[in-house]
Symmetry: none
Subunit: 218 residues, 4 copies
DNA sequence: TATGAATGAGAATTCATTCAT
DNA sequence: AATGAATGAATTCTCATTCAT
């Protein structure tokens, strides 16, 4: 699912450079124009190579998109509560995970919007994304289970389903805030998401509302 | 929101019939092929009229899509906690709202997926949807405020932001479940969403896990 | 195999006219440039219509070629000895059939060359042509059988196989003469083909060499 | 006919090996894909060399095709009546020539089909083939003339034209049988072709139908 | 000689939109 | 109002050929 995406593995250094230039160019063009309006000729122009060169490395637009996704997968995080296992203050970890996630999302909003768009268009991308998401859902579920076992979280929810619900909650919030531009003070966002997350699982916490922020905004 | 959707207000009975046939056909084709792959000629074929007739009623694909949305707006709900104001058991209302929402979503999954797709493509639709969503966010925020004022909900969250977060949580859950087909027992879904919602706001409740369902499933 | 070749049966008179213009244009372009070098844009230019119009009637080049073949099938004869049944002088009929065939072939040499070319490229056309050829092979075989039964032809050959061999003999001669331009006096050609045909089947004849023709030429 | 086929006369042993690998590969690819669909890159891949290497030895596809033809010319025979001069039983020679020709044709059907295809596409190849064919036509014509002079063949046909007609007859039969797959028992084929050939020239013979074969088949 | 990445001209094809009937 | 044939702009994709290494 990773290797045979490319038409050829470029062997020479030059080939590697060209392929990389195309992937970089594709990201620029996709973020600028969206997936649908991106023309391959714009990508090759941006990469300063001939149109035909595109086909040395990729079969079509969807394939170079996959390569862009592969190249940026580290920028595409998922909301989580990593490392709560056996830690004293789960709330602090949840808050810091949420802050980290929202920050990453904010810096990569264009990319996330792009991923959203392509997911809504291309079933393969949709499925890939879903599969990747599940890794995080399950990781979070293990954290929840651990807290339940230690008597630190509401035992009356299924950990996997709770994980799905809460992961979705934060990712949806990030989407609405940074892609749809629903706005809202960043610290307030982190605080609300984290507080509701902890409350939802009945995790004890001392989270307090960040000061000097008005009650709401449009 | 209704007026300039139609190119002309069709006056004759025949005109009304033809227009309606086109809108109905468009929904069929859009749900079958998606927005992008739907050809106007497929829509007119489905409506059993000539291609040219399309332009008697609509300017382009986005306009007939708007008409489909208008015609189906009653099927497109938003998650909420309707009418909690001054009611005895807010948890019951939250649960029943969630159940109702998830049921509607399930029946209209194709349509919701379509809306998702077009939102990711067409900024106008995206904005329209966002605006409609806010109506519900604010309605829910009023409910939360009311509970907070009556001492029945966590006072340390901004009602609007909490509303955004929780509405998003349920709509994202519905999307993942019914569009991405993440699966999960329906009652378990309703229960988890409702319990987490109540917990999140520290609303007292007696929600209990539906029986005979294992802890997790794929 | 004849009807659903066309993308749409044009209903209007205008449609019939346009389709016909395209088929006529295609024949001109195919005969001028050959099948491979014929560009669809040349065909539409010749037909004085837009490139897109082509696709109203045909799916691709092979389909309009089929339409050209269909339109010209009366010009594409096969060599034969029709109507020898019960006739006094079979040789006269064989000679006149051969003359007719060779004349038709000469007038349609371009078309026959085209058919040869496409047959060598497109298995469907090859098969169609083969199937059409068999009709004539079998018809001739019945003529041979009749002569054998009446004691007028060599009984020691299988009529069908003899028919294949003799039909091929004349069609190959026509091809070599008019397409490959092997040359040769026309009457000499008719005479030789007919004499050898009759001799081959031991049919009695009074065929005589046309006068005033040198023995051979390049 | 040999000289300007090669771009350069490869002198080094390595060069000879590479060139030969390319020609062998080309035959494989041409027979597999046909002339038109054969890509030079497929040929070089089959020959296990780089695309650029092709141009060290050949100018273009038509040139390597010529090299393939040159390399296989011994497999490309023409129908004939070899060495009839002064031999006792011309019929036996005709029959054995026909058998040999049809056998060779059967073993090289792919190659013959390829030659047919390229002849229909490339005028140069067509001309080359026509020229080669004439050598055989003329050789056969001399054989016929000899029989006529000895009173063993119908004197009332032009030997060259008869030769053309009869050579074409057998080559066309072979093509229809082995390329178009018209079928037919092999011995029956040899017998019919030979008997009709002898009859056509009024050459005396004792050819008898091969036993145990029904009158006709598909 | 061999390599294989880069080149780019050129043709097919789609389908929203127009418009004469 | 309805019809449906005609339009043509716009892009993708192929692959023979070149050329720097």
């Amino acid at each position: 699912m990773t290797k045979d995406t490319a038409r050829k593995s470029p062997l020479s250094k030059r080939g590697i450079r060209t392929r990389q230039a195309l992937v970089d160019a594709a990201r620029v063009i996709f973020e600028r124009d969206g997936y649908l309006d991106a023309r391959l000729s714009d990508i090759t122009a941006e990469a300063k190579c001939a149109t035909g060169t595109f086909y040395t490395y990729f079969l079509d637009k969807s394939e170079i998109f996959a390569a862009v996704m592969e190249a940026t997968k580290n920028e595409m995080l998922h909301p989580g509560m990593e490392h709560v296992d056996g830690v004293e203050d789960p709330a602090a970890i949840i808050e810091s995970s949420n802050r980290a996630y929202l920050e990453r999302y904010r810096s990569n909003a264009k990319l996330m919007q792009l991923l959203e768009q392509v997911s809504s268009i291309d079933p393969q991308v949709r499925e890939l994304r879903r599969a990747r998401g599940w890794v995080f859902v399950e990781r979070n579920a293990r954290g929840i289970k651990d807290l339940q076992d230690r008597g630190l979280a509401d035992p009356d929810v299924d950990p996997v389903m709770a994980s799905r619900v809460l992961s979705g909650m934060v990712s949806r919030l990030a989407f609405a805030t940074f892609v749809l531009k629903d706005g809202g003070d960043f610290e307030q966002l982190v605080y609300t998401a984290s507080r509701l997350w902890c409350n939802a699982l009945r995790i004890e916490h001392q989270l307090t509302m960040p000061q000097a922020v008005e009650k709401s905004d449009g």
